[in-house]
Symmetry: C2
Subunit: 193 residues, 2 copies
Amino acid sequence: MLHNLLKNENIVLASRSPRRAFLLEQVGMQFEQIPSHIEENLNGMQPDDFVLHCSNKKAEEIQKSHTDSLIIGADTIVVLNNEIIGKPQNDEDAFQILKKLSGKCHEVLTGVSILFHDLQLSDIAKTKVFFKLISDEDIKEYISTGEPMDKAGAYGIQGYGSQFIDKIEGCYFNVMGFPIPLFYEMCRKFKSE
Amino acid sequence: MLHNLLKNENIVLASRSPRRAFLLEQVGMQFEQIPSHIEENLNGMQPDDFVLHCSNKKAEEIQKSHTDSLIIGADTIVVLNNEIIGKPQNDEDAFQILKKLSGKCHEVLTGVSILFHDLQLSDIAKTKVFFKLISDEDIKEYISTGEPMDKAGAYGIQGYGSQFIDKIEGCYFNVMGFPIPLFYEMCRKFKSE
């Protein structure tokens, strides 16, 4: 398991997300968390390319100053009908995003990158999330909890937002921000190389 | 949303599960937690009947001493090929259970019961959980974390166990022990009656 597989590595999580740190702590990993500052510029990229581009960039930025560490980069996006939906700019934006997601199925993609010296592995987890039909009143109540503001797609699956999710198909942890099972597979591959 | 819908109720969660309490706290609910002590005796019942029987019994027991409260009962079971898999008795039992689940899809069922005076509502959430193939070494490492022992199916989806889950289909919170989205629907129905 991860806590034994990586116990001798010096690990840096190149992300400011408290949810990613929480998930890695839950599987007993020890690491340092250092946010990276990259420009997330779409430039007409497709969702798959974009999310890998971002997770790679985040890891590469931190590797420059931590050359002997195993660096983990990750980026999560919400995609509806091939359109990437980012974090809301304000309450009105959050309302429009949640209206769009209501009653529909969208996809959550997380790109994961592992860098160690000149070894590089990256992969994507994809999960389908089916939203219930949400009333305008519920959307307003939800926005007033403050939960949507720092999250892609304007919702968090693990808090108040849990009430809106009809079902998911795929990895739950991916929707929370970091696909632990995929990461474990990637680490085993990395260790065998 | 739940925290507004139920804000005037005196709520008792008839369960000792810290995970159920956590999930209800996460959606802003206020409640008292009182474990109920029922005999979970299968008596040849089918999984659906059994899980509803248990959630009803738990709620009914607590209602006797809390006649003016809204009582929430819940029971979660793991089902593989129509066989109910309970909590492991010891490490060896946990090993056998996890060997059985490895590489296969099982179902997690949670029965939810709401009692308030003579009103009674109950329903079941079902989620498919697809396990990866797990090596004996990983099973042993997992058992040594102590996580399997108090959990139906000998795993917890939210901790070290997350590494074993290939994907799920349905409600994640159900697998954690309490299907929040179903509960919200039941509460809206309850409020409209």
